[in-house]
């Protein structure tokens, strides 16, 4: 509101500062001044809400589910954490929802008419948020399953042409700028449902969709194993995504600009 008034005042001053002022123009200036005065008066009225001119205020729609700082809903695991994920990755997800590559009605509805610039700004807001990770419940699985999960995450399974998660998502699995998200600290339910949704084609991205390839090579038990290991793995001290260019992905990924 304050910025709104400031802008009004500036306009009015600008129009006054340019003599000689044409008649119609001065009339416009008068109207602008009137408006400005009205706005100030309205702001004095305690019944009128004070609205901060911030991106945080603008994205109230996102915060309702993902949290004001993009902390997600760790308890239910349903609404993913956005805080600290690379901005390129977040902006890409908004675009994928817009284009129907990722399917989720409420998200598709919310982002339908956003511009690429605005989506980038929203993505950067959440990428900059630093909030502690909170752990989510992990289903009880056997030691062998956890072992299988660790192998998949850190070494992969060459027999099934499965690259390790770490080969793209970074040695610490904290992601790589600007397009690859971190995997540690995410809830089991979220991780397993995302891997599943690549297989049911409710989550996709620009071709070639390397994660779809990986998800389709995983067996059902692999999905449980890797999700359980990732969700229960101890968090590294530094949770920031690695710098750009620090990994060489073993598959062709459209999201990384590799259309080969």
């Amino acid at each position: 509101m304050a910025a709104y008034n400031r802008r009004m005042d500036t306009d009015a001053k600008l129009s006054q500062a340019r003599p000689p002022v044409p008649r119609g123009f001065s009339r416009i200036a008068a109207v602008v001044l009137l408006f400005a005065a009205h706005a100030v008066h309205a702001a004095d009225d305690p019944a009128t809400p004070q609205v901060p001119d911030t991106i945080q205020q603008r994205v109230a729609s996102c915060a309702a589910c993902h949290g004001v700082h993009g902390e997600g809903s760790p308890k239910s695991g349903f609404f993913p954490r956005l805080a600290g994920k690379p901005a390129g990755y977040l902006a890409r997800q908004l675009k994928d929802f817009q284009e129907g590559l990722r399917k989720y009605g409420p998200m598709e509805y919310t982002v339908r008419h956003l511009s690429p610039e605005y989506m980038q700004e929203i993505a950067e807001y959440f990428a900059q948020q630093q909030v502690p990770y909170s752990r989510s419940p992990v289903p009880r699985v056997s030691a062998a399953t956890l072992q299988r999960g660790e192998t998949l995450a850190l070494k992969g399974d060459p027999a099934r042409e499965l690259p390790a998660c770490a080969s793209c998502h970074g040695a610490q699995l904290t992601g790589v700028q600007p397009h690859i998200p971190g995997l540690v600290g995410l809830p089991y339910d979220y991780l397993s449902s995302q891997l599943g949704s690549w297989r049911t084609k409710t989550r996709a991205t620009v071709a070639p969709d390397c994660m779809a390839v990986v998800a389709n090579r995983l067996s059902d038990s692999d999905i449980s194993a890797v999700s359980a290991w990732l969700a229960s793995h101890e968090l590294p001290a530094d949770l920031h995504a690695q710098p750009a260019g620090s990994v060489t992905p073993p598959l062709h990924c459209g999201v990384l600009g590799d259309g080969a």
Binding site: A47, T48, V51, S61, T110, S115
Partner: protein, 429 residues
Amino acid sequence: MKRLRRWLLLVVVVAVLLGGWMLLRSGSAPVSREASRIDAATLKDPALIAKGEYLTTVGDCAACHTAQGGARYAGGRVTATPFGDIPAPNLTPDRETGLGDWSFEDFWQALHSGKGRHGELLYPAFTYTSYTKVSHDDALAIYAYLQSLAPVQQTTGPLGLEFPYNVRASLNAWRALYFKEGVYQADTSKSESWNRGAYLVQGLGHCNECHITRDALGGMRSDQPLSGGQIPVQNWYAPDLSTQANGGLEGWSEQDIVDLLKTGHSGKGTAFGPMAEVVARSTQHMQENDLRAIATYLQSLPARSATPPQELPFDTKTLVSQGTKVYAQQCASCHGKNGQGVAGVYPPLDGNSSVNEPTGINAIRVVLLGGFPPVTAGNPRPYSMPPFAQSLSDNDVASVVSYIRQAWSNKAPPVRADDVGKYRHTPID
């Protein structure tokens, strides 16, 4: 239901016979592009193509003829109707799957008469009921623009219509009831701007296709154009557009209308749902004088009769008093405790046409879905509204919607928790 089917069967039989007879009589075979009266050089005129591009935007052809994430004008979006699903065809000049072989005569026959290249009757999901008013010159410009696009090979999916609606000849009966063919005729007693507005609103803008109540056969009640109605299947309420007494936009100034169409919001309300789509893709790109013309015309729509207060079959006092609390907790921090909103940021709810529309659908669904107003040049970083579907029960939503529909100067009937439950699960596209 059985009786209705039998009745429809009779309609179909009569229509097939009538249709066959008419087809034999008229025999509208396709006109080859070589035989067209429009020569190829005319279609290459950059001024004509530019005009066509503008008019195609005004008509918002891309809304239906572009799939989500798909190539522009290559078709594929499915319009869900109470009679089944109708996919929009490919308008790019691909010879096999688009309009590559269509002459202007074929195009005109579709737009003006609602008939395909071979004289087959088109389903009015393609709203030729409005487009018939488009002038020959404007249609030519649109055709020239579409033909200038890069061809995209994309086959249109099959019609998802059940018997008897899949019998095209049955449309003869429908057309006899609801379709009046004819280009817009200017009313010389009115200003040029009024006529331009009427032409755009009734024709290319096809506003009346949503802003009207439809009957059981999907026909428009023609006696009161633009008087508002529920959009079938999509389940949004397109409000009455009269700005006069008891009108849906009562008290809207010319500037309010222009602002909403240009920027997605005005001092009186904000576009959301299907109208957000219209603003984002179409009206924000319209020329100022065309927007003013539309406003001039809408302001001339007549006053409406007042709706008598209804006796409500359920207890509203508890509901409304509960809604007062929900409003104070969830809504007042943005919309103000007096429902006045914040100028340029959050819409007022007092006197808001979408709060007060007869069904309550819009308010229910906006509370459930929240969302962003359309991003436009005039509002590039809009403030959004949180969705409440995940945090408020059906009863809470019903109570707060009932409260805002009765608070301040609003006098709309309350809604029930059952209604909220129903719209909670309405598909979003």
